[in-house]
């Protein structure tokens, strides 16, 4: 009996080739809730990008004659106590929300990736030390820390900027947004990094012991290639899920800080400081609270659905099927 073993046999290679990313994408868009989340998030990004050209009014322009108006055809979401158009402020707030989400998550993720990867790779004492820091950062009451940082550092920083402005007359020092960047965003990132660090460390540890990484080592491939082509692409799934959830969290957190008076500095509109303003007068002018709260809630839910959908789509347990 001659053997056909070396011949290809019926080697009908599958007719279409599907990478795991494409496969995950298919699973994602098959999930209705995730598609909803994706659509809202896409809309949010769009509005944030082209918002200033969409708004019917300038978000800062005050109209003393049209204060605290109820929603109408002229002002869809009504006006606030300074006669500013709420819809315009909500639209501009999308830009702030996205800025907060991206900057804060970006910083937190960078810290997390750096510390997590170092901990996972180095192991031993370095690992123990970094994980100790992570534990500490996670056990500080986070709101308290942010509030303390902001209340104690904001005034000196603002004073310093004023002084600098008087000294140089450089308009850069008049922009309160820098204070937000450094203090508000910085302190938020400071309390948000530990989960990323833990996730990255766990991913490094788990993927490093996978057989395909051992195989890559056995092939004699240098560490750089192993990390770039074997570890990073495979570690990405859970990180994407975490980032998607993290973006939503950062938006909510900003509104919480605004409520406590340490969020994005007015007059820059953020949903948070609008909610916080609205809360003071909401019994008489409920629309001032309803509009920003509803938009924030919608965004949170959208990120939640998207995160869950991504988790299902990227969950390695389903790959084997």
């Amino acid at each position: 009996m001659s053997s056909p073993a070396l011949s290809t046999g019926p080697a009908e290679a599958p007719d279409e080739t599907v990478s795991l990313w494409r496969d995950a994408w298919r699973r994602l868009i098959a999930n209705r809730l995730a598609v909803f989340g994706l659509a809202v998030v896409a809309l949010l990004i769009l509005v944030a990008l082209v918002g200033p050209w969409l708004t019917p009014y300038d978000f800062l322009s005050q109209d003393i004659n049209a204060r605290n108006q109820a929603p109408s055809l002229v002002h869809w979401f009504g006006t606030d106590d300074l006669g500013r158009d709420v819809l315009s402020r909500v639209i501009y707030g999308a830009r702030t929300a996205l800025l907060v989400a991206i900057v804060v998550t970006g910083i937190a993720l960078s810290i997390g990736v750096l510390l997590g990867a170092v901990a996972g790779y180095a192991g031993g004492r370095v690992d123990a030390f970094i994980m100790w820091l992570t534990d500490i950062a996670m056990s500080v009451p986070s709101l308290l820390l942010v509030v303390v940082i902001n209340t104690s550092l904001k005034p000196p920083l603002a004073r310093w900027m004023d002084a600098k402005y008087l000294e140089t007359l450089n308009p850069v020092f008049r922009e309160t947004v820098w204070i937000d960047f450094v203090l508000v965003f910085g302190s938020m990132a400071l309390i948000l990094w530990p989960p990323y660090a833990r996730l990255i460390r766990a991913q490094v540890l788990s993927i490093r012991s996978r057989n395909y990484v051992t195989a890559a080592r056995a092939l004699g491939l240098p560490a750089g290639i192993v990390i770039r082509r074997y570890i990073v692409p495979n570690a990405l799934g859970p990180v994407i899920v975490a980032v998607s959830a993290g973006l939503g969290n950062a938006m909510v957190l900003e509104s919480a800080f605004s409520f406590l008076g340490v969020g994005v500095t007015p007059p820059t509109p953020s949903w948070g400081n609008m909610i916080s303003d609205g809360l003071r007068v909401w019994r008489t002018y409920p629309h001032l609270l309803a509009a920003p709260a509803a938009v924030l809630g919608l965004a949170t839910i959208a990120f939640s659905f998207l995160g869950d959908g991504l988790n299902d789509a990227l969950n390695p347990k389903q790959w084997r099927k």
């Binding site: 009996m1 053997s3 056909p4 073993a5 011949s7 046999g9 019926p10 080697a11």
Partner: protein
């Protein structure tokens, strides 16, 4: 074979939903299990052997369903039983042993608590009575100092021990039928030998029927009375064990037996391997599913599925092949 068989499965079809639509993973399987008989079900992964037995107990995974056929036991169709009646069958009339003794035990419950369950829910024993009986069962399956082991958690036992407990659990209510789904695949050779000997011995003592599912033709040869060979969801050959090894008739059975290296027998430089790979359940070819890999195939094989025909005129040995059973000439 004067009395009716213990279990009769007829024309069983099982569909699994896949992304490309429903796929028939089991396609018209029929077989009987006689009282006291040990039946071997042999096939490769994906041939439908495990899912067939799961269907008998109503344990199909989500997305799979019995789409045709029936399974008669005690004059009742197992597929149409009410939930309480089905529950009585599980563990009461049919005992089941699964492949992986690690994942098949609940890791957070003591093995005693898991072992007494069939006794409590079928026999109505009190916990204390069941516990005592469970100790006896452990001794029955060759675990010395039975009772002491009942307080162990599954991870505290070795793989072989766990499989013994699993057997005790399957036999707790002395069901007339025991289904063993690859019970030794996850075990080492020397442990596998222990388990095989144990089951042989228990069968001699208790006289139950056995369905032993495996991919290992060597393993079942000394263990069962009769074998059915499955390929791609179909029965391709059915025979008493001696006939099957003496005169394998379907080209797939022949190929499998020829490609097994053995400890005895002549050494050859090359193994006579079967080419190709088993077809995906979703995209099985029309006609005989083995045709694409078959060295003997003729044009008819790719068009029509051959019926199970007697080999040498004996009904106990049947194969589904146009060429080797001479069915083609008869059909012509």
């Amino acid at each position: 074979m004067s009395s009716s068989p213990l279990l009769s499965v007829r024309n069983l079809e099982i569909e699994v939903s896949t992304r490309r639509g429903p796929a028939k993973v089991v396609d018209g399987i029929s077989f009987d299990v006689e009282r006291g008989e040990a039946l071997g079900v042999v096939g490769e992964s994906g041939c439908g052997k495990s899912i067939t037995t799961l269907s008998l107990l109503g344990l199909l995974p989500p997305g799979a369903r019995v789409s045709a056929g029936f399974a008669l036991m005690d004059d009742r169709n197992l597929f149409t039983l009410s939930r309480p009646a089905l529950r009585k069958v599980r563990g009461g009339r049919i005992g089941m042993i699964f492949q992986d003794p690690m994942t098949s035990f609940n890791p957070v419950l003591k093995i005693g608590d898991q072992l007494i369950e069939p006794l409590v829910y079928h026999r109505g024993l009190s916990r204390a009575e069941a516990w005592e009986r469970a100790g006896e069962l452990l001794r029955l399956v060759g675990i010395p100092g039975g009772e002491a082991r009942l307080d162990n958690y599954p991870h505290e036992l070795s793989g072989g021990m766990r499989q013994r407990v699993m057997i005790a659990m399957g036999l707790a209510c002395e069901p007339p039928l025991l289904i063993a789904d690859e019970p030794t695949t996850a075990l080492d050779v020397t442990i596998q030998a222990q388990i095989v000997d144990l089951v042989k011995d228990l069968r001699a003592r208790l006289g139950m029927s056995i369905i032993w599912i495996t991919h290992d033709l060597a393993l079942v040869s000394g263990l069962v009375d009769r074998i059915i060979v499955l390929y791609a969801g179909k029965v391709v050959e059915e025979a008493l064990v001696d006939d099957l090894y003496a005169k394998p008739t379907h080209p797939y059975t022949r190929g499998l037996l020829a490609s097994l290296p053995t400890l005895e027998g002549e050494e050859t430089r090359r193994l006579p391997a079967i080419g190709g790979t088993p077809p995906d359940p979703g995209r099985r070819p029309p006609g005989c599913p083995f045709a694409p890999r078959c060295p003997l195939k003729v044009e008819l094989c790719e068009r029509a599925m051959p019926p199970l025909e007697p080999v040498d005129g004996r009904n106990s040995h049947r194969a589904a092949c146009w060429v080797t059973t001479g069915a083609m000439e008869m059909a012509a």
